[in-house]
């Protein structure tokens, strides 16, 4: 007889709570997809039914072939991947330095990075617009990458630092005793162990950039360089909102994030460093 066998009531309760949360979190997504596959003529008549009486993929077809959606999608992908890559690279370097080295001004830099996170975005939109426009970079996707990178670096750096902090210092020191330079120790021992951290940071920054609306709206007005969230607003015309197409576009927009997380989730599993040190 197992002493640790769990109470069946507790188990049921646990699953009830979990499914309650799941329903709560996933319902909006479900609704998104449901409306996307509802034929236009049924949207208002069967608006509150859980499942429409007939379904269609017309909305998807229209969105993909007859709107600029694919261009928005491409722009967003470019901006989000660019931001994720640049931010993670810089944050990894900075996080490593914060975790391993003691240098003058460390506390000041940390304080400044925290302060940058305290301002509401609305306050800095005007100055940012001014800077970007005087650099002649309005309507360029690169300007979005630069701005997003600047905004995401502080948090990404703290995130990376916490991952480096979790790797015992002894490992690098052992590598150096084994003949590595500090850089070799970093490349051969620390980086492989930081993959979960890099994955998490990439995912976080990617998602943040993918769904950013405010700056994209301010800095981009040209149809050709609109990102996806801005593009979604084009489904709202002055006289009507094309719900079906908007929801179809929204469903499609979920795909990259999902793929991205499926791809990195194997790096997110914990326990990569277990067995390194005592205890």
């Amino acid at each position: 007889m197992s002493v640790t066998r769990s109470n069946p009531i507790l188990t049921v309760g646990k699953y009830l709570a979990l499914s309650g949360y799941l329903v709560f979190a996933l319902f909006p997504l479900y609704w998104l997809v449901k409306i996307a596959i509802t034929p236009d003529r049924l949207i208002f008549t069967e608006g509150t039914d859980l499942w429409p009486s007939s379904t269609t993929l017309d909305n998807f077809r229209t969105v993909i072939f007859q709107t600029d959606f694919m261009a928005f999608f491409g722009n967003s992908l470019y901006v989000s991947l660019g931001t994720a890559a640049v931010t993670t690279l810089i944050a990894a370097g900075a996080g490593y330095a914060f975790s391993r080295f003691d240098f003058g001004g460390k506390k000041v830099i940390v304080a400044i990075m925290l302060i940058t996170q305290m301002f509401p975005l609305l306050m800095i939109i005007a100055p940012i617009y001014k800077i970007v426009s005087s650099l002649g970079m309005l309507n360029s996707l690169t300007s979005l990458i630069v701005v997003y990178t600047a905004f995401n670096i502080p948090f990404a750096t703290f995130l990376m630092q916490s991952f480096f902090d979790a790797i015992p210092k002894d490992l690098e020191e052992a590598a150096m005793m084994d003949g590595c330079t500090r850089f070799q120790a970093l490349r051969k021992v620390i980086v492989p162990l930081t993959l979960p951290g890099l994955g998490a940071t990439l995912g976080f920054v990617f998602t943040a950039a993918w769904s950013e609306l405010l700056f994209a709206l301010m800095l981009i007005s040209d149809n050709a360089s609109m990102t996806f969230p801005v593009g979604l607003l084009t489904f709202v015309s002055r006289f009507s909102v094309d719900w079906g197409q908007m929801m179809a576009a929204g469903s499609l927009a979920l795909i990259p994030s999902c793929l991205f997380f499926i791809f990195i989730q194997r790096y997110l599993v914990q326990g990569l460093t277990s067995g390194a040190v005592k205890g």
Partner: protein, 355 residues
Amino acid sequence: MARMELRGVVKRYGTVEVLRDINLDIADGEFIVLVGPSGCGKSTLLRMIAGLEPITEGDFLIDGARMNDMRPRDRDIAMVFQSYALYPHMDVARNMGFSMEIRRDPVEEKQSRVAQAAETLGLSALTDRLPKALSGGQRQRVAMGRAIIRDPKAFLFDEPLSNLDAALRVEMRLEIARMHHRLSATMIYVTHDQVEALTLADRIVVLNDGDIQQIGSPMDLYERPANRFVAQFIGSPTMNVVPVEGRDNGVQLRNGAVVSLPNVPDAKEAASLGVRPEHLELVADGQGDLVASADVVERLGSDTNIYAQVEGVGEIVVRNHGNTLVRSGERFGLRIPPEQAHVFSSDGTAILRRS
């Protein structure tokens, strides 16, 4: 193979002085053991020798060349970490062969060395496991293997056997002794274990609170401890030390008994007297210098430790042969043999005997 010198080495973290004025010459091929209570700076000293911790003041030399600013990899020293520090993403074989991988040694040579080290350490069956699938003792042996795979100038060990069970510990201790004979490499070894220290060391360095208390061969430390700290740190059970008053020709215990010490010229300065448990002589009740009543009698097979209350003096430990007749609660007499007595002045330094 290397001769090492530490000259006036000091380590400070900010204003905290962790090691003070460490001077130590280590001969080529010598086996040095560092002992001392937890937090006295043993690991720190080892890490400064390894090059992992900057030296605040003083010099460290290998074969006459100053090493203070050399990177660890340029010092050619192997180290076994107190925490093992195995690479969690590499299997046992790659962990052990990592230093050769970094130096781009021929693959066949690396493989044969790894196989040989694994054989020596009893790890042959585990070479393709990851560290997380090993027990503590196995991890510790992999950490040893990683060091012995190469031919460094010196080996540093930071409590390498602390996690092994008693039998494995004895086996590994012998293996280290054998390795030292075979490689005749310079070794510096940190341990808490008396037996390891006494059996392995050519010389033992006793540290306390950042200061070297004494450097000497195991028998030196046992027979001629420089002060009370060393006297009580080396030897098990620890030396009995009781307060006394100095007399012209000996010392007077609190119970009034006088132990005459004709071969200690400065007995007048004495503030305490030390006798190892194994040197106290058991005599009939009413005889000898002390009257004791046995409190606890610990039978260890070959020996017996008797913890006794002594009137006017306090608790005393006596070590007797295995089949001693003393039972707990019994009274007996104790004689302190003058030739085995250690006397210490009020600041704890040993007062020397005339040889």
